[in-house]
């Protein structure tokens, strides 16, 4: 099996190399073909391309580095993350399930992806604690993924037998029918912990409110900023915006995710510096002898 696996993997790598190489050649060829009529590259987009390429390269560099020495990576404490384990523990004590809501967006949404990543770790934790989980999904595709991820979480904890597929539910893709469905679940099953991670819209308040009334410990997190005030208001712990992505890295310590976090931080630092310099140049440029130079327009004509 393992030999077959490696051989297949090797073939896959070769195939990947071929496809990628072929695509590149095709791209170059077609571009050359088009050169006569159009330019190879839209010059006004250079800064965007620079950002994307830098991020792509940084991602690979960080992955390599983190794989070599995974413990050298520093990430600041994120309040609200430690709360998840605590809450799962409390659920176990009370003998009540943990409710995990993956948000009301489809799988292609990056927040849903982050939520599903965190779900994997929560599922593992739950399998270890021998607690029950309920996962509520707003889209069938999300449900399909969530189910596999929960199964994997149970498998990682060595308890595949305890996984029950019907605990991962598709409620409704109609936003409020979804909220009502999850509310009904909370009222009926009285989970001791509610975890809302992913993209949320208007239903965040309904969910957090009902959860508050059922006296569950609530952890809310979304990058959908309009909903954050309500999570701040009604949840015990809140994961603010981008921290959502950081959480998945923090929990898993997985090279990929840590590299993602490091890459964003790298560019973020550059952005902070650029903005500060740009604003100063725009304001004091004339006294510094730079004339009308505007960094913003220079970067993004």
């Amino acid at each position: 099996m393992s030999a077959g696996g490696t051989r297949a993997a090797a073939w896959a790598r070769r195939a990947a190399f071929l496809v990628a190489g072929g695509a590149l050649i095709a791209l170059a060829g077609a571009a050359a073909h088009n050169m006569a009529e159009t330019a190879l590259f839209a010059p006004s987009t250079w800064f965007y391309l620079l950002v994307i390429v830098t991020m792509g390269v940084a991602l690979y560099v960080y992955i390599a580095r983190i794989k070599k020495s995974p413990h050298d990576v520093f990430i600041r404490k994120i309040p609200g993350v430690d709360a998840i384990e605590e809450a799962v523990g409390r659920s176990t004590e009370m003998g009540r399930p943990v409710l995990y809501v993956t948000g009301v967006e489809e799988t292609q949404n990056i927040q849903t992806v982050a939520s599903l990543l965190i779900l994997g770790h929560v599922a593992e934790m739950i399998a270890e604690y021998d607690t029950d989980i309920r996962v509520a999904n707003a889209y069938p595709l999300t449900m399909v993924l969530a189910e596999e991820i929960v199964r994997q979480g149970y498998a990682n904890a060595g308890r595949v037998d305890a996984h029950r597929p019907e605990n991962v539910m598709f409620i409704s893709s109609e936003q409020f029918a979804f909220a009502a469905g999850v509310n009904g679940l909370m009222v009926r099953e009285r989970p001791a912990t509610n975890i809302f991670l992913g993209r949320f819209f208007a239903e965040s308040l309904m969910l957090a409110e009902t959860g508050y009334v059922t006296k569950a410990i609530q952890i809310g997190g979304t990058a959908e900023i309009t909903q954050l005030p309500f999570f701040v208001a009604a949840c015990d712990y809140t994961i603010l915006g981008e921290e959502l992505y950081a959480v998945s890295a923090y929990l898993s310590r997985e090279p990929n995710l840590l590299a993602q976090l490091k890459t964003t931080d790298l560019i973020k630092a550059a952005v902070i510096v650029l903005i500060a310099v740009g604003a100063l140049v725009a304001t004091f440029g004339e006294s510094l002898g730079l004339g009308d130079f505007d960094l913003g327009t220079w970067l993004m004509p």
Binding site: Y48, V51, I52, F74, I75, R76, K77, I78, T107, Q108, N109, I110, V144, S172, S173, E174, A177, A180, G184, V187, R188, A202, L205, E209, T210, V213, T214, K215, I225, T226, L228, P229, F230, V232, A233, L240, E242, E243, A246, L261, K262, T264, D265, K268, A269, V271, I272, L274, I275, A276, G278, A279, V281, A282, T283, D294, L295, G296, L299, M300
Partner: protein, 394 residues
């Protein structure tokens, strides 16, 4: 013409009012009326979504492009798969049954393909099939069928990975390009602006710049331009005194005066006038932005100076969240107001509202729901189950 509206429509309004109140009864507790309305709504929305998606997207983009009814193509694809599967089994097991099935499938397949070409309604199919465009049109159909594979059997769920991988990567790429331009680039550009932008000099400004000013509508801007062509304005007061203005315009301008954020703060009559409050605001905007970005910087422990900066950033974020909260409350209230206006018939033609009698129907609905819930609770109590859970049952 409210009297011409068929009675069935009036009945519809009544049903709508009843369902509205049935859903609002959730506020008392979860109950059969709410559940009925909720399930009816979910059901209707499923039927609605499927048909809407079919007629507006799948039919024009998929079915019309293929040029034959989708079921016909589906039949061909299914038969093809059956034939292929049987052939594979036949080769491996050498079983006569699967050979026969495969042969039958191939025979039917040939028939189906033949009928595809021969069907009288689709005579243009021949040239269609010979075009590459037609074959490209088949790709999404195949992807759709792959997506449905999991519904048929969990063992086929891996087939669903193809459309899924396509969709996820596709949207990821769209989003990357959108984010880098609109949410990163454009915002950076705005943040690098001059902190000390001078007041708009109304003697020099373009009409566009003028209309950006509070209280200056395009007609007022035209007046200013006319006036300054004769003689430059010497003070902001002169705008109010322009001869061509209507009293309403004059009143608006008077309202928009103000040295801190109003017209006087934003406009001057000479070049190079400073707007100190604006400078303060721009500096705060910049520092607030940078501090909030520092809060979201994860590679450094937030202690000492960094801690202070990021704490300032959190404060800025919280003020923003407060603003967001205020707006959200308003939005939610508007939803309830909308329902109240609808039920009370305030948005309708008076004659129609007269026929609907919204408040009366609402009263009757409330009565029905109250009596119904009371009976239901009584029944539950008799059955010894106590009160059912509701939003306040904790």
């Amino acid at each position: 013409m409210a009297d011409a509206i068929p009675f069935i429509e009036i009945l519809g309004y009544w049903l709508g009012i009843f369902l509205t109140l049935a859903i609002l009864s959730f506020l008392y507790k979860d109950n059969p009326f709410y559940k009925f309305a909720e399930h009816l709504f979910i059901g209707v929305s499923i039927g609605y979504i499927i048909t809407q998606q079919y007629y507006d997207v799948l039919e024009p983009k998929l079915v019309d492009r293929i040029g034959v009814p989708a079921w016909h193509v589906l039949l061909v694809v299914v038969l093809f798969l059956v034939a292929l599967g049987c052939a594979a089994v036949a080769v491996r097991r050498r079983s006569p049954a699967s050979v026969a099935t495969a042969a039958a499938a191939v025979f039917l397949l040939a028939g189906a393909v033949y009928s595809l070409f021969q069907s009288g309604n689709h005579q243009e199919l021949g040239p269609l099939v010979s075009s590459i465009d037609w074959w490209i049109g088949l790709i999404p159909l195949v992807l759709c069928l792959m997506m449905f594979a999991k519904s048929v059997s969990p063992r086929w769920s891996w087939i669903g990975r193809y459309p899924l991988a396509f969709v996820v990567a596709f949207y990821a790429a769209l989003e990357v390009n959108g984010l880098v331009q609109a949410d990163l680039g454009a915002q950076m550009q705005r943040s690098m602006a001059d902190l000390d932008r001078e007041k708009v000099n109304i003697n020099e400004a373009t009409p566009e710049e003028l209309t950006q000013l509070p209280g200056i509508t395009p007609p007022v801007a035209r007046e200013i331009i006319e006036q300054r062509a004769e003689q430059p304005l010497s003070s902001i007061d002169q705008i109010e005194a322009l001869p061509g203005l209507t009293p309403a315009q004059r009143a608006t301008i008077a309202e928009e005066r103000g040295h801190l954020i109003g017209l006087d703060a934003r406009a001057g009559t000479e070049p190079g006038q400073r707007n100190w409050f604006r400078i303060f605001s721009e500096v705060l905007l910049l520092l607030g932005l940078l501090a909030s970005l520092v809060y979201f910087y994860f590679s450094i422990e937030q202690k000492g100076a960094v801690g202070k900066v990021s704490r300032f950033g959190v404060w800025i974020l919280m003020i923003g969240f407060g603003a967001s909260f205020g707006y959200t409350v308003q939005g939610r209230l508007a939803l309830a107001i909308g329902r109240a206006i609808d039920v009370m018939g305030k948005d309708k033609d008076p004659a129609l509202a007269e026929r609907i009698q919204g408040p009366l129907v609402a009263g009757i609905s409330i009565l029905i729901i109250v009596v119904g819930i009371a009976l239901w609770e009584l029944k539950l109590r008799r059955a010894g189950r106590g009160s059912a859970g509701g939003p306040d049952a904790a």
